[in-house]
Symmetry: C2
Subunit: 350 residues, 2 copies
């Protein structure tokens, strides 16, 4: 009922400090600190008294002071590619998963764009702004990697560079993904499969995952006696139409398509519909894409999900483990899962 502390829902003008809490609770500053950190045992009574004071004063420890004294900022830097032309929803999902998981571990997330380039890695590490880093969209020969190796800050990569020695990485097992698609189609009796691939630029940029998927597809296709062709595709209506035409021209017996390029999926389905090729009666379609895309398509797509959330969560967990000094495996590949939906079925002539 005391009016004094009721400045609009408990917001004080001046921020309380540890010392004030200590005075209010009748203990020393260090005691308050230990209550907060739990690094020394505190008697039940004192703890409660301190906690009440914290509550009443609306105390929040000052992040800078804490970082200075403990040389731990409790911040994880997340570096996302500047390029916002591709996989945007996936990136976003990973980023959000990183942010929420980090919070669960008491950390905040600093958002870095690729724009600053490798410099950002140095700046953030050297200034003690972040305790650790998570890098997304890693390329096979990424410029940022030497800096990570040289620096002593824990880091986790989302994606697989060419040389993973000494690095910790998280990624979907794209080779297994490819294999899974091939198996599924082979099981259904298909003999001739076409891959509607990523844009040529993606292969040139050597982001790795596209090649790995293809490789998985190829080797399993060979093992199962599948004929496989692969055509890159820029995505969008026009380009997809061209790719599709070329595929059916070259291999009229094609009965199944594997699509990895998200922006080709909707056009592809529209085109097939328009050409009178029924899915899955005439052509089966298997996609590698986020579940959301697969379930929103018509018909719903049999797909291997891109586990964006999982990737984000794992990245944080690994980075937290490293911060805690735990030994961590180098590469964590997430096992792909294929969900059968309405777009794949037995090969027509079978």
């Amino acid at each position: 009922m005391s009016k004094r502390f009721d400045t609009f829902g408990g917001d004080e003008i001046r921020m309380a400090t540890l010392a004030e809490v200590a005075r209010h609770a009748g203990v020393s500053a260090s005691t308050v600190s230990y209550v907060l950190s739990g690094k020394r045992s505190i008697s039940e009574g004192t703890r409660r008294r301190v906690e009440r004071s914290i509550q009443e004063l609306g105390y929040h420890p000052h992040a800078g002071a804490r970082a200075l004294a403990s040389s731990r900022s409790n911040i994880i830097a997340l570096m996302v590619p500047l390029r916002t032309d591709m996989y945007v929803p996936v990136m976003m999902e990973i980023a959000m998963a990183v942010a929420t998981t980090a919070r669960q571990h008491g950390h905040d997330v600093l958002l870095l764009t690729g724009e600053e380039g490798p410099t950002a890695v140095r700046r953030v590490a050297a200034s003690g702004l972040a305790d650790a880093m998570i890098l997304m969209d890693v390329e096979l020969e990424d410029e940022r990697i030497p800096l990570l190796r040289a620096g002593d800050r824990p880091a986790v990569l989302v994606g697989l560079p060419a040389d993973t020695a000494g690095l910790t990485c998280v990624d979907l097992d794209f080779a297994a993904t490819g294999a899974l698609c091939a198996d599924h189609l082979a099981d259904l009796g298909h003999r001739s499969v076409a891959v509607v691939g990523e844009a040529a630029a993606v292969y040139q940029r050597h982001t790795g995952f596209a090649e790995r998927t293809l490789q998985g597809l190829r080797s399993r296709a060979a093992a199962r006696g599948l004929r496989l062709i692969h055509r890159p595709c820029e995505g969008g209506y026009e380009s997809t139409a061209g790719t599709l035409a070329r595929i059916f021209e070259e291999r009229p017996d094609t009965t199944a398509l594997v699509v990895q390029n998200e922006s080709a999926i909707v056009p592809l389905l529209a085109l097939l519909r328009q050409q009178g090729r029924a899915v899955p009666e005439d052509v089966s379609v298997v996609a590698v894409c986020p579940d959301q895309v697969a379930t929103q398509a018509t018909p719903q797509l049999t797909s291997v999900a891109i586990p964006a959330q999982q990737m984000g969560r794992h990245a944080v967990e690994l980075v937290i483990a490293k911060l805690g000094g735990s030994p961590t495996e180098e590469v964590r590949l997430l096992g792909p899962e294929l969900t059968v939906r309405a777009s794949s079925g037995p090969a027509p002539s079978a």
Copy 2:
């Protein structure tokens, strides 16, 4: 040529401190600080000597120490909605623009998800983690707003709440956007226009922008003698098909469509094509969407762009201005721009 400092590209194991730089340059610590901040005049010679030392030692000021001493973290918190089901590319684009613009002003960006809720606002402000906040996806009655009003940290909202008193907001002028679309179609001689709206949930959530667009459309339509109907649409193939069918059933004379729901755009075009309605010969289509979506569609869409980058940039600039103590306007509405592309043309009977 000295080997001593060549530990792999200039990375020292121990991080240099201000004091070390000062010793190395033969000046006092405060002098180094003033060189860095430029807050006092420094002689040319000293400045150069200090700068060389900084270079040689690879010095980066410690963020925490700086924040503690100056009570400025040089961090802006960006709160994005947790919900990743809508506008994802737009959100991402805004977020990236915020991040890069902030860097240009010497600030970093802390990524907060909506998950933590209004608490995050208090936590970040009270701990001094961030100097200011930018909130995205603001709802008409947003829970976070009272906290912002109570707190003393500068904040900028992206989006318009019901009551903007005392707040600074950035948004596209959606009412003007609606009006612009109506004008464009009226100019082309259309008399009966249908709006393929956002999902019903969007209207219920009162995010504001959808209503404002509609309002702009309606009043200008009335002024220009256009008949207008509006039907919400969930997006996706099925739902769009239903909405479209209902529209043409109710108003067979409809010659133009306005679409705001991004996820309805591609299905809509596919459906029209399939139904044999040529765009723009039989039906004109105007969209409110990012330029990228408009240009990737077939045919390319006449559209009002959602200026995501601009919104992000303006938000940062306003927040920086407020941090600098400059008075700032309350609401900055960005003027919409309509780009005529291939999807709109003269009304058929005209």
